[in-house]
């Protein structure tokens, strides 16, 4: 039986009727038309579906939409302030941290969550924070450089 739930996504409340067996990834992509959240493996192994759920980055493919009832969710669509990129996004653009882009939403959200808790992370702390987000294109280096650079920008 479907349940009526409230999802607070990117500071907007949505009331949706969902079957309990639908994941947060599915509801974001299919019901809320927010396909920035990607589905790479659907098993919690790749991090492409990362969203921030109440201040913590999680694999949305392993969250039931009903479990997210009344909780705050940030997806990649909610990171920029209108046309103004978040410093992390800006750094990704400038540092060549984007190749195919399929991991990028998850990378940006994991990085955002890190920098909100740790304003001046070491390279190892950045790599640790991104270690659940797989990237096959970049070798991670330019992503790590972008996050480091964003942390310096954000401190200012």
């Amino acid at each position: 039986m479907k349940k009526i739930i409230t999802l607070k996504v990117n500071n907007k409340e949505y009331e949706v009727a969902v079957a309990p067996n639908r994941t947060l990834t599915q509801v974001l992509r299919e019901d809320l038309n927010l396909p920035g959240t990607k589905c790479g493996c659907d098993m919690g192994d790749c991090g492409a579906c990362t969203v921030i759920l109440d201040d913590r980055p999680v694999n949305s493919c392993l969250v039931l939409a009903v479990q997210a009832h009344n909780r705050e969710i940030t997806t990649i669509e909610g990171v920029a302030d209108g046309p103004n990129l978040h410093p992390i996004q800006q750094a990704f653009v400038e540092h060549g941290a984007v190749q195919c882009g399929f991991c990028t939403p998850g990378m940006v959200l994991s990085a955002k969550s890190l920098l909100e808790k740790n304003m001046d992370p070491t390279e190892h702390e950045i790599r640790e924070a991104l270690s659940g987000n797989l990237c096959r294109c970049t070798g991670y280096q330019k992503i790590v450089e972008a996050v480091k650079s964003a942390s310096q920008t954000m401190k200012k």
Partner: protein, 293 residues
């Protein structure tokens, strides 16, 4: 995209209610905590429970409470908090260390301590340190609680003493005695997103700073159907002065205490050899911890 099989979802707001709901589902209900294990198995078609019962709304299930002589951990506490809480990092850092190498940050933000115990994976990261610390679990059914040492809880892969309608409600860990050191060493293919090839948790307690070993626990993981005590290693350690030579002997014995299989992550012979290496390293690190306090 994989579709999850259909089920009904319950989110009771008390443990009594949870027990009731679970009892009503007969054996067709399952508890969902972080979902990082059950949802994967459901997507793979290995499990299709008709009912999922979430504990998330129940007060206190996601907290750590200090009690006299120890702490009580709620089953729904996410693994990340075992690393973040000061109390854990300072006093129960063995558990923090094991938590910090579980899966990935994204998994640690969902996976729970209760889930990591109840799913009873032979290579799970939290049971070895918990067993080394002598943890006990409290199970509830129809409102009645029973307490069990974690040592007695596991039966085999995916199997525990928990009854189908029973719920893990608390994990109790005692404060470490004075002159205690411990370590958790996990051998992994990569440095993240890994299930252990072999992992070892040890805890030694001396009778005095430079004294003899009063208590020793050596827990081996991923080398048997469940996390096990390296019984002969523990036996030889107790009552002796800690030395490199003793540790080497204990480590060598530990490798005879395990019964690994060859599977997708490693061969039996290699695993046995690694038990020795890792046990030796963990014992040395534990001793160093006592000495540096």
């Amino acid at each position: 995209m994989h579709l999850l099989p259909k089920f009904d979802f319950y989110e009771p707001d008390s443990m009594a209610e949870a027990c009731k709901v679970l009892a009503e589902t007969k054996t067709e209900g399952k508890i969902i905590a972080g979902g990082t294990d059950i949802m994967v198995n459901m997507k793979k078609g290995l499990l299709s429970p008709k009912y999922l019962v979430s504990l998330a709304k129940i007060p206190g299930v996601s907290s750590i409470e200090p009690i006299t002589g120890g702490i009580v951990i709620g089953p729904n506490l996410i693994v990340a908090k075992l690393i973040e809480f000061d109390l854990m990092r300072k006093k129960f850092n063995l558990l923090s260390k094991a938590a910090s190498v579980l899966g990935s940050p994204l998994i640690r933000n969902r996976a729970t301590i209760g889930g990591n115990i109840v799913t009873a994976r032979p290579a799970a990261d939290l049971p070895p340190p918990l067993m080394a610390m002598g943890a006990r679990v409290v199970l509830m059914r129809k409102g009645k609680e029973r307490e069990l040492p974690l040592d007695d809880f596991f039966v085999g892969p995916g199997q525990t003493k928990i009854k189908p309608t029973e719920i893990l409600v608390k994990i109790i860990v005692d404060d470490p005695p004075p002159f205690t050191g411990w370590d958790y060493v996990k051998l992994m293919h990569r440095n993240a997103l890994e299930i252990a090839i072999v992992a070892v948790a040890v805890r030694i307690t001396l009778d005095s700073p430079d004294g003899i070993i009063k208590d020793a626990r050596v827990i081996l993981s991923a080398v048997a159907a469940k996390a096990i005590h390296a019984v002969s290693a523990e036996k030889i350690l107790i009552g002796e002065k800690p030395t490199a030579k003793l540790f080497a002997r204990a480590a060598s014995l530990a490798s005879t205490d395990c019964t690994p299989i060859t599977d997708i992550r490693g061969g039996a012979e290699y695993r046995c050899a690694m038990v020795e290496t890792l046990t030796n390293r963990a014992l040395s690190a534990a001793l160093l911890q006592i000495k540096s306090k």
